[in-house]
């Protein structure tokens, strides 16, 4: 039965690697979400459910139409709706009359997780299945590394778009590399390829902007209208601490000496929001302080429309921004967000940052 999964930014490459590791040759790789995906998703969901729900639903319908039968998804208890997406997808897709099997991985019940996971990997034994998962989380690190390097090179490249071409080539290379020995060589290859193939203007002193916010809004270019690339194109280095590493990377999670960025952020956010309340609320607030201490110029905060936890951070951000003298731009995103609106706001924000750097006062 053909296996597939909804499209989630560059994390799709990790999914693909895991499926490859499980020796499944009937994997249907989802396409990047288009206008049609958004339309399909909104058509079949409740009007004020959050945008990631609609986009992922659209993506699932598209892969089912392409012939997928087994769809990977997840369920967990959380403060926000994210944990209950799959049960609702099951109901909606049943009503639409599609034939499919939603394989729900319960992330908080590790035994249950690997049992369901093993169900997917019928071609291999348990050890190989776990190994495939391990390769997945290791490759996830290198995908993150490509992203990070790309957002740095993209700002100062001489020939526009060169870094993106290299990055796409490297994503594929990461997915297709087999064997632990070769995989371990990847970081060096990534570094070298970027240095060799992308010509950069070393005299430029680009602005640096951190991008934080809700997970899906940050990692999925289709919902944030490729905000990273837009910022790169106006000559700004970007970075995001929001990746899947903290959940999927069991190797790093078991390492007690690993310094997690989000844990530092949560410490900074303590005076504003003390207790966990879902989403990336505390991280978004703390990251403003964290980036200020690192000497970055500004922060962009992204969240989908009607996202419950991020509305709280958006309400408190003005105070944090004022107290730490750090410019923050909050952007709400939904399926109707227009390109021109985003572009204008980004340009205005970057102009403000530039002036702030030059005269020490943005206003």
């Amino acid at each position: 039965m053909p296996l597939s999964f909804p499209y989630v930014g560059t994390f799709t490459y990790v999914f693909e690697s895991i499926a490859r590791g499980m020796k499944r040759d009937d994997v249907i790789v989802p396409d990047e979400p288009t206008y049609r995906t958004k339309q399909l998703g909104s058509q079949h969901s409740s009007e004020f459910v959050c945008t990631p729900f609609k986009m992922l639903l659209g993506s699932i319908i598209e892969v089912i139409e392409q012939g997928a039968y087994e769809i990977v998804s997840t369920v967990f208890v959380d403060y926000c709706r994210l944990g209950y997406y799959s049960p609702l997808y099951q109901i909606i897709l049943d009503d639409l009359g599609y034939e499919f099997d939603l394989i729900v991985l319960d992330w908080f019940d590790k035994v249950e997780f690997f049992t369901s996971f093993k169900k997917l990997a019928s071609n291999v034994n348990a050890v190989q299945a776990f190994q495939a998962f391990r390769v997945g989380w290791i490759k996830n690190r290198y995908i993150d590394q490509i992203d990070k390097t790309l957002y740095t090179y993209g700002a100062t490249e001489i020939e526009k778009g060169a870094a993106y071409k290299v990055a796409h080539k490297l994503y594929r290379q990461v997915v297709e590399t087999d064997g632990m020995k070769n995989i371990r060589m990847l970081p060096k290859i990534i570094e070298k390829t970027f240095a060799d193939e992308v010509e950069i203007d070393e005299e430029l002193k680009p602005l640096k902007v951190g991008v934080v916010g809700e997970l899906y809004a940050v990692v999925e270019p289709a919902i944030n209208l490729d905000i990273m690339r837009r910022l790169n194109d106006i000559g700004v280095i970007t970075e995001t601490p929001i990746t899947f590493t903290r959940w999927i990377d069991l190797g790093q999670r078991m390492n007690p000496f690993k310094k997690w960025h989000y844990k530092a952020c949560i410490k900074h956010a303590k005076p504003y929001v003390r207790y966990p309340l879902g989403g990336k609320t505390r991280e978004s607030l703390g990251a403003i302080v964290e980036y200020k201490e690192k000497g970055w110029d500004g922060v962009i905060h992204l969240y989908p429309f009607t996202c419950m936890p991020e509305i709280i951070s958006r309400s408190i951000i003005p105070q944090v921004s004022k107290e730490h003298d750090m410019p923050v731009l909050s952007l709400v995103l939904d399926e109707h967000t227009g390109e021109a609106g985003i572009q204008t706001r980004l340009e205005a924000f970057v102009d403000l940052l530039e002036r702030k750097r030059n005269d020490g006062n943005g206003f």
Partner: protein, 347 residues
């Protein structure tokens, strides 16, 4: 510090959100400690106008109203009581806004009186019942240092809450009686002559059902049409849990279980003529439960379900028309009269 003649500390509690569920607990606790409890007035146009201008745009309507109620208490009290409530049972959560509200208020309106924000979360955090008692004990220190008075206040508060729960939630026997038209649980419906009696389940959050302003006095509208209602608050917990067990995955939004459970119960038992579901615009949990309810109702459409979405722009006339149409439709289907949708062209 501002003290009135009796030298009592004044505690303000906004009449919004969780107040409608835990009012007895909080009021008894503070009054027993010897504080004066001031509750904000019922929602008015002025409170709403202030709320809408102050609150963040994307917040749900009920949360916005909370801002208005807090502002109404601003200059009248020494302390504002805004608890951070996460959930009362393991793996059941409320809404993240209940946890963040106190901090948002503090950040957005700096000149508010000091906010008392005890945190309690059994859903995802590792708080225990004993922890709740300790927190309440510590909270009481602001008003009185006497530990015995504080202990007594806690005991009485929980007793009052238990009593409140007993009064609101009916048992299965009473539900049976209501279904057989032997008792009336809410306001007496104004029956007109020669009219069939209608039974409607009114489903929604307790802070919508019990706030006539934000629900556009839907209860009295229904009363006027001679409809006997039962609210989702009143349904026995046992029935709700029974319905929830039918879902493939446990719904972890605590207050939504009550709503979805009620709808599923009546869709199955078919003992009411119709269900009216009140949703609040941009309420996260509502969007999930509302969608599930709508889908289940479509699969088994014997009992009609009307979903009404409320926000600050909802007008009464529109709401009234829809309810009227719904009630008329129910009456006709009971009388076994076909609903003729005829078109008449007036030239």
């Amino acid at each position: 510090m501002l003290r009135n003649q009796n030298n009592k500390v004044k505690i303000g509690i906004p009449r919004a959100l969780l107040f409608y569920k835990y009012s007895d607990l909080w009021i008894t606790f503070f009054e027993d400690l010897g504080a004066e409890v001031i509750i904000s007035p019922k929602t008015t146009k002025k409170i709403k106008a202030e709320a809408v201008s102050l609150a963040p745009d994307e917040d749900c309507y009920s949360t916005k109203l909370y801002f208005g109620h807090a502002m109404a208490l601003k200059d009248k009290v020494d302390y504002l009581f805004v608890p951070r409530f996460g959930g009362r049972k393991k793996n059941l959560v409320g809404c993240p806004k209940f946890i963040g509200l106190a901090e948002v208020l503090r950040s957005m309106i700096p000149d508010l009186p000091e906010i008392l924000m005890p945190h309690y979360n059994r859903g995802m955090d590792k708080n225990t019942r004993i922890g709740l008692l300790i927190k309440a004990f510590r909270l009481g220190k602001i008003i009185t240092k006497n530990p015995f008075v504080r202990m007594r206040a806690i005991r009485r508060a929980f007793k009052a809450q238990k009593l409140h729960q007993k009064l609101v939630v009916i048992d299965e026997k009473t539900l049976k009686k209501w279904e057989n038209s032997e008792v009336i649980l809410n306001d007496f419906p104004m029956y007109a002559e020669n009219e069939k009696q209608l039974k409607i389940a009114l489903v929604g959050h307790s802070y919508v059902l019990n706030d006539p302003y934000s629900s556009l006095s839907i209860r009295s509208i229904l009363q006027g049409y001679g409809v006997d209602i039962i609210t989702s608050e009143q349904i026995p917990r046992k029935l709700i849990e029974k319905q929830m067990a039918k879902l493939e995955y446990d719904l972890y939004f605590d207050f939504e279980r009550e709503i979805l459970g009620t709808i599923m119960h009546f869709l199955e038992s078919k003992t009411v003529d119709g269900i009216i579901h009140l949703l609040i615009f941009s309420c996260g949990p509502d969007s999930i439960a509302g969608e599930i309810a709508a889908r289940f109702s479509k699969r088994d459409s014997a009992i009609p379900l009307l979903q009404l979405v409320f926000d600050e722009l909802t007008a009464e006339a529109g709401m009234r028309t829809r309810i009227e149409a719904f009630v008329d439709m129910l009456r006709r289907s009971i009388d076994d009269q076909a609903i003729l949708l005829t078109m008449k062209a007036h030239i």
